[in-house]
Symmetry: C2
Amino acid sequence: MEIKVLKNVMIKNNAIGNDNRRQFTKNGILAINIISSPGAGKTTLIENSISELCKKYRIAVIEGDLFTSKDAERLATRDVPVVQINTEGGCHLDAKMVSAAIGEFDLEKLDLVIIENVGNLVCPASFDLGEHMRVLVYSITEGDDKPAKYATIFKQANVIIINKIELSEICNISLEVLEKEVRKVNPVAKIFRVSATRKETLAGWIDWLGNEIEKFS
Amino acid sequence: MEIKVLKNVMIKNNAIGNDNRRQFTKNGILAINIISSPGAGKTTLIENSISELCKKYRIAVIEGDLFTSKDAERLATRDVPVVQINTEGGCHLDAKMVSAAIGEFDLEKLDLVIIENVGNLVCPASFDLGEHMRVLVYSITEGDDKPAKYATIFKQANVIIINKIELSEICNISLEVLEKEVRKVNPVAKIFRVSATRKETLAGWIDWLGNEIEKFS
């Protein structure tokens, strides 16, 4: 019975996810789902990416969080529409939550929707939100053994942003070893090495994302 | 229907958890459940704690992981019995898994059982494994805003080990601000500041835990 219910939940979620994706695509919007552990730097990455991208593109953000609206408040200063979803302890966003959030935006006036998922490297992997692309933000402080240990999310990611590279020496983490571990489970994902707090390191990612947005418009 | 199933799962889990706890207590064993985000330093803390504690106490470790046995292999060199539980993508340990693992140990010959949960700051909070104590390992690299954002697990923790304090300056995190944020959601938890890689910083935690073990013997 438990398995059947879980299956029903997933079927429903995927149907709503597909509907979300159709809406995004129809309106020429690229939608990305950003996933990471707590504190890996999702919000900082979003802040410093949209401050560049908003010069050229119309952006909205959906913020997932268990209880607070701290991240939405951080982003609200960036002059882009932000909708906060509080999961009240729930460990991931689902397609229904995103569907409700989309209703708050004027989709015809957007080029990019960024969805910041709940900080969790496990559960968000199971829920299609209707995104076109999964972006995994991975802080090198988490070590080089995690691609194998959290293989599901590493396998799924279209883009892997290795963050906090300025800490690699003090944390004794080799970026080469880490990338080799990533490649064992995901040979094709686009990889960027960044320090999300240092805007100059984000240029490659921002240029690439701008190019992807163009494909959808 | 989904809610009813979830409730049944929880009732069953708690019953098995209580049974596990009775077994630990009856055998004079302290059982602790160690929870953190991925890469916050649980395994390193366990390695460097048991290398001291095993001089005086008989210890066993239950290792939770999604897919690999990397952590169990690390600990196997420490000459304590280790049982690996692979959740096959599951986001937390549950009481039934721990019950099965306990069956592998000779409980009469143990003083401390350490359970290392799956790296996840959300889901493990909902599952009583039968432990006497929840130990939250929190890496300061995760930022000072997480106690409010992941309030459930911060509220539940009996002990909060703030790890990687050597990175506080380079990460621009004030330990005082972080502890103030912790205290807002949990005024009573025992707090230790450590660098799990540096054994000398673990003395306070190890002494305290030794004292707790004595209470159960």
